[in-house]
């Protein structure tokens, strides 16, 4: 079959709603878009563990500490599951796990803007679970229908585990909202701190060429704006119910348009942060990531040697 015919047949499969497996033929563009998306997603899970890890030693009680450790474990675990999916796709390019991990501190793969931010108080640790995980789940739930079956399958598992993250975050937020004036003030500040980052998180209303191609291929099926609208619709009323405010007085529901209005985040500032790793905590966390990966290289090598020693000699 000629290349054009193959691509046409592939697009017909996509349009019929069929699912693609890693062993199926696929256009190189589809493969590359998937690698970019899933690699970034996996690395963001790994980098997403850092803001909360910083609060593990300072958690206010043992139960909170256990829950936070559990969440950090989950995020790293999700990173591993996603990188495994990306690796199968990247096999024709000879890319393996080490490359995928190193790409983050050599700047070849980016991670979500929210994980570049600082988390100065315990309320931030709670609001990360509440808003950041909430936003991440909205995005991930929309990917459950992805045309790439291995991605959709692994996201089913990830979403199930994320539902604990959401409850954990809400639990901290509710405890603080129900607490002293000082605790409420801390929570209020954290919500103001994270809201603009969350507006950026879903991406610009005017989507990039690559994002539009992902829609054509049904790798994703919702626009940035649809996801942002759902986020505001779920979270703005809840924040108001807690008697707290948003840092944006333009957030209101426009009944006629059936849309939430909001002020645009500083697109240029956040884009620069993601592109250049220039956020308040970007460099510090990347440094820790590099230390962890390079510092443990000898362990990874030792495990291979230990396994070789255990194998009986082939006669």
């Amino acid at each position: 079959m000629s290349q054009d015919l193959r691509e046409n047949a592939f697009m017909e499969r996509i349009e019929r709603g069929e699912k693609i497996e890693s062993t199926d033929w696929m256009p190189e563009e589809y493969r590359k878009l998937l690698i970019k998306q899933i690699h970034m997603h996996g690395i963001s899970e790994v980098m997403g563990a850092y803001p909360e890890k910083e609060w593990v030693p300072k958690a206010p009680n043992l139960r909170r500490k256990l829950a936070l450790i559990a969440k950090v474990q989950d995020e790293i675990g999700h990173g591993q599951l996603l990188l495994r999916v990306a690796e199968d796709l990247a096999r024709p390019y000879g890319k393996v796990r080490d490359d995928m991990i190193e790409d983050v501190y050599t700047g070849r793969v980016k991670f979500h803007n929210v994980f570049h931010m600082d988390a100065p108080t315990w309320a931030d640790a709670g609001v990360i679970g509440f808003l950041v995980d909430g936003g991440a789940i909205i995005t991930q739930a929309s990917l459950l229908e992805s045309s790439y079956a291995p991605y959709a399958r692994i996201l089913t598992r990830i979403c199930a585990e994320e539902s604990f993250h959401m409850q954990h975050g809400e639990s901290i937020v509710l405890a603080l909202a129900d607490g002293t004036e000082q605790q409420r003030e801390m929570l209020q500040q954290a919500i103001h701190h994270w809201w603009p980052s969350m507006m950026f998180f879903f991406g610009p209303p005017e989507m990039s060429g690559a994002s539009l191609r992902m829609m054509d291929y049904k790798i994703r099926t919702r626009t940035n704006e649809q996801l942002r609208q759902r986020f505001i619709g779920r979270y703005a009323p809840r924040i108001h119910a807690l008697g707290l405010t948003l840092p944006d007085s333009n957030v209101y529901y426009d009944v006629e348009k059936d849309l939430w209005t909001y002020s645009e985040p500083d697109w240029e500032m956040f884009s620069h942060m993601v592109r250049e790793n220039s956020g308040p905590q970007s460099q510090q966390r990347l440094q820790l990531r590099r230390q962890a990966h390079e510092g443990q290289q000898w362990v990874r090598e030792a495990m291979i040697r230990a396994n070789n020693l255990q194998q009986p000699a082939i006669s």
Binding site: K19, L66, A141, E170
Partner: protein
């Protein structure tokens, strides 16, 4: 899943293949049983005839039984990480959230809400 690779094997000897079946595109391959066959291709065929005479499926994996590395049923210590209370790790450990939201006159968000949103 004891494997007898004794030297007094009867001829002809067929190897054992464990069979995994995927029933729909978003489902996982699930173990369903095993077959003996002379080759992986024939194992797939025998698996189809043994397990899928009525049920539909979209994919079969057959794996040489000796390529499966199982944990020991006796080694219960291997699963000791389930020994302590893990409610802090489960949604069920946070039932108080709903009560507290009620006090603030809002309903707790569940994962189902967000999945439902995504499908709207």
């Amino acid at each position: 899943m004891a494997v007898n690779q004794g030297s007094q094997q009867k001829q002809p000897h067929y190897d054992v293949y464990e069979v995994f079946i995927q029933r729909d595109f978003l489902g996982y391959h699930t173990h369903i049983g095993s077959v003996v066959a002379a080759s992986p291709e024939l194992a797939q065929l025998v698996a189809r005839e043994n397990f899928l005479r009525r049920d539909a499926a979209i994919s079969i994996w057959v794996v040489h039984q000796t390529d499966i590395h199982e944990t020991s049923y006796e080694d219960t210590d291997f699963f000791i990480n389930r020994a302590t209370d893990k409610s802090y790790r489960d949604v069920s450990g946070y039932v108080d959230n709903a009560k507290k939201w009620k006090a603030f006159k809002e309903r707790a968000i569940t994962i189902e809400d967000l999945v439902h949103d995504a499908k709207r």
